[in-house]
Subunit: 359 residues, 2 copies
Amino acid sequence: MRPTVNDIAREAGVSLATVDRVLNERPGVRAKTVQAVTDAIVRIGYVRDLAAANLARSRSYRIACLLPDTQSQFLATVEQAMHDAAAAAVVSRTEVETIRFPAEDPHALVAVLADLQAQGISGVAIMAPETPHLRDAIRDLRRAGVAVVALVSDLPNTERDHFVGIDNVAAGRTAGVLMGRFLSGNPGQIMVVAQSLLSRDALERRRGFDAVVQAEFAALEVLQTLEAHGSPDILRRAVFEMSRHAPRLRGIYVLGSGHRVLGAALADLGLAGRVVVIGHEMTPHTRTALQNSTIDALVTQNTGHLARSALRVLRAKIDRVPIDEGQEQIRIDIVLRENLPQVADDPASPARVRSDQAA
Amino acid sequence: MRPTVNDIAREAGVSLATVDRVLNERPGVRAKTVQAVTDAIVRIGYVRDLAAANLARSRSYRIACLLPDTQSQFLATVEQAMHDAAAAAVVSRTEVETIRFPAEDPHALVAVLADLQAQGISGVAIMAPETPHLRDAIRDLRRAGVAVVALVSDLPNTERDHFVGIDNVAAGRTAGVLMGRFLSGNPGQIMVVAQSLLSRDALERRRGFDAVVQAEFAALEVLQTLEAHGSPDILRRAVFEMSRHAPRLRGIYVLGSGHRVLGAALADLGLAGRVVVIGHEMTPHTRTALQNSTIDALVTQNTGHLARSALRVLRAKIDRVPIDEGQEQIRIDIVLRENLPQVADDPASPARVRSDQAA
DNA sequence: AGATTTCTGAGGTACGCACCTCAAAAACTC
DNA sequence: GAGTTTTTGAGGTGCGTACCTCAGAAATCT
């Protein structure tokens, strides 16, 4: 049997009340007694039963997930993943509320955070660009005992407890290597397309991509980043314009989750299937593009893992227990058509291939 | 507040005892009353508090993990991952015992399983080739109420509850595409190396690899599989022998987790760095080989995920609760040097790259 | 209607822990 | 050594559920 608090009390020769005081760091225990209890704890290998503890505390976790209100398939995927993770987390008494804040207004975000703190929320997962206002708001949250994790895009200069997401420089490097290897070091030009270069993740990816191409695939020339700024027309025109000046265009790197108009533009230019296209993030659109080979490879992060990890880390921080680093490391996934994960709720997805002969 | 059993009782106009009988499927309740209670449950949205339920049951999960006693870095990694997952699972009152069984003796395995059943184990994760004996043993376990999952290598014709692992045909296809693309469709020969072709996973990978290369990279010729049978010498000789007859050797596909002797043989043949090497599984050895570019790409499954997933699925099956398909799908990971995950406990691993300017 | 069977309700104990109170013991102070 | 402060012990209640008993009500049968 697993040792309980009573076993500690017996082993340490003190009463249950004292053990309780030590365990929950309540005052009124002599240092010597504390030592005796902690010794007993390690001696008998006691591990607190968190389920029972939380039951007794009747603690529940109220968590807020803050995402910008930008229209984006990737954000929609993240929100959906968080919703699913939240549904699975009700059994561990976790409630999650997702809030979209105005992307352009740092004051609005700060107001939302202040409001959450007032409401007595216990944890916050946030995806937002780092501003001085946000730094202060996060510090205030932490001071108030609220756990904070940065999601997708890190906030390294704030007091956030943890970052849940991938190393975007490495993701860019990965995209760069794939591009270089798929082109086998032959010379040519690479077009880079982004929604905008304002976000930290896009910048870091571009940096990683450039570094690798420059160092290992010197025959490739990486062109200036085209910014779509949310407008299909701007992107379309820019692609046509640039392709005129890039006679040996052999690859396209899409820093964000891809733009529907890009496929059409490539088809019009007669480039479809003749250039290597590498993008980021798994969305309904990039998934389809990968399936019909409009995109050759995706460098992604698993949004399901992202959401579940954020909730797990927040719960751990709230409970002040250590986190399992290995489990919380979000990997950089490379997805080709061949290793495209099946979507669980897609009735059209083919049955698992399996052979019934052979041991 | 979350509704409790008492709320159900009030809502359904019955007593707590009756609610309890319905919830735990105990006899002695009229169909009409059962209906009234289940109606009330959905009406108020009751979700059973599993933590409290397990506490009251004072249930703990005793789980056995069965692995063949073959010497292999991959198996060692799996065992280690299971050990780590077990350590993290003590808080959810889960005990895991890993047992290595004689790989060559199906009767010994059956005996171990029968013994476990007698000991009153509640769940089993097993990695073994499918034999009639094993089929029967698994059926008996299931009949006795023991949950069973197949690990790494599926047992599709048994009554196992679930398979925790990747689709190995797809993994082979993925390796095939990487090989083809890295070689850019230029003609050449591919050597295939395996420990043995007896295990289902190796066979399936080879099948997927062949299918893709044949269909999409017709210029490549895939040579006959070399089987090492655990002997570095056999492998070494076979590689030398075959490379004499393959003047245009451009790639090597390692079906298993790679063989230390292979790197040396390639160096001796002057092929190091001149052929594309693609392997499977992340082990200390393949990791190093990837870092120093002896191997170009690895197609892997995350053993940490594998182990945690196995434990989660087993617990879910024991509790008879549905599993979160999305979370339990083990992805086929493609690992290049650039997206090599950091090892958490490696003090020598470089700090996370991050820039402190830029929002 | 009476006997019999089947349901149902009221209540208790337990799981492992948190958190509370009150009194007694021990350790200090002067 | 009397008074004061600090530390400790004993005990209780509750968290949400499981599981048990026993008595009484309701339904069914004869």
